[in-house]
């Protein structure tokens, strides 16, 4: 049987190009989604300063006030999640709610009330939040989260966690956490 070297070369080259293409597609980091809200006002709201109080956590007599700086001191990580409201993948800088609960000595059995700037309230047990690895997002794609996109801080959940499917628990523009 005679080997057609020309054909083999072409086939090999095509396979190589195909594999390169696949690897390349996997290696490309997702481009940041445009952040401008088409329904937002034209004058943007200044994000809070690094030392402005943006979250108050109250566990009966114990009150802990957090600024962006003090939240960062708790330790941050970055996670990429599917944002269920705008239905795109986004990368957030987060502090785990478990750390925030710990800072205010909130026990896992406590019923925790999360209250947003628009007085939207969502309540669940601390355990259910931590079991779903609830996170407090303090930045998106490395920058401040605009107020018209759920900022400056918001609760998010990793994909496939139990509460990730429960949209009311994704409290935007979080203001206060209180133990009931």
């Amino acid at each position: 049987m005679k080997l057609d070297t020309k054909r083999i070369c072409v086939a090999s080259l095509a396979t190589l190009l195909l594999l390169t293409g696949i690897n390349g597609a996997e290696g490309v980091s997702p481009k940041p989604t445009p952040t401008k809200n088409p329904y937002g006002a034209s004058v943007p709201i200044d994000p809070p300063g690094p030392n402005d109080v943006i979250l108050t956590v109250t566990n009966h007599s114990k009150v802990v006030k957090f600024s962006l700086t003090s939240l960062r001191k708790l330790g941050t990580t970055r996670i990429s999640i599917f944002e269920p409201f705008v239905k795109v993948r986004q990368t957030f800088t987060v502090v785990s709610l478990a750390k925030i609960f710990k800072s205010a000595n909130i026990p896992s059995t406590a019923k925790v009330l999360t209250d947003a700037l628009n007085d939207y309230i969502y309540t669940n047990t601390a355990k259910n939040f931590t079991d779903s690895q609830a996170q407090l997002a303090i930045a998106r794609f490395g920058g401040p989260i605009p107020y018209d996109q759920g900022g400056p801080i918001r609760i998010i959940f990793p994909d496939k966690s139990t509460l990730s499917k429960n949209l009311p628990s994704w409290n935007w523009s979080l203001n206060v956490i209180t133990v009931k």
């Binding site: 809200n37 088409p38 006002a41 269920p84």
Partner: protein, 174 residues
């Protein structure tokens, strides 16, 4: 002895015949089919109610949007009455914008289903708020803006109401 034989004959009569077996089988099948049907109906009812009450279901989104619209108009009125600074109005407006940008389960954003009159009123209030000075309004600004802003606040509320009614009873408001 005679009595015992009579008893045996009676017992023999209670033997399950072939026809009875077929009937029992049909009854069992019917029972299983009914159970299956109840389970399937329940599941679909639960799924339907979940989809209707989901935060990104179109009907729920309109309710949330109406709430945010009312909060925004209250903040506008408070700002106009020199009770709160402009920043608080802007925050309420931003939260309304966030709600309008939510992509519903039908793939459309809430804002895409908004009546054009609603968006026009909204953007008119934006131009008034953006053109004012930061902080609490002065008495002079209050007098100037009241005439411009009050009709827009009323327009926004009535547009939100009609939007909500259109979604819930399209045959009534057509």
């Amino acid at each position: 002895m005679e009595r015992r034989h009579a008893l045996d004959r009676n017992v023999m009569r209670f033997r399950v015949s072939g026809g009875q077996k077929v009937l029992a089988f049909i009854a069992l099948l019917s029972f299983l089919a009914l159970s299956f049907s109840i389970i399937v109906t329940n599941k679909s009812s639960i799924a339907e109610s979940k989809s209707l009450t989901s935060a990104t279901a179109p009907a729920s989104s309109i309710i949330f949007t109406q709430r945010e619209t009312l909060v925004y108009t209250v903040r506008l009125a408070q700002w106009l009455d020199q009770q709160i600074p402009r920043r608080e109005v802007q925050i309420a407006r931003a939260l309304l914008a966030q709600r309008l940008a939510v992509v519903n389960t039908d793939g459309k954003s809430v804002g895409q289903s908004a009546p054009s009159g609603y968006l026009q009123s909204l953007f008119k209030t934006d131009s008034i708020v953006d053109g004012s000075s930061p902080g609490i309004l002065t008495a002079k600004e209050h007098a100037q803006l009241a005439q411009l802003l009050n009709p827009e606040i009323e327009g926004l509320i009535s547009q939100a109401d009609s939007w909500f009614l259109n979604i819930n009873s399209p045959s009534i408001v057509s």
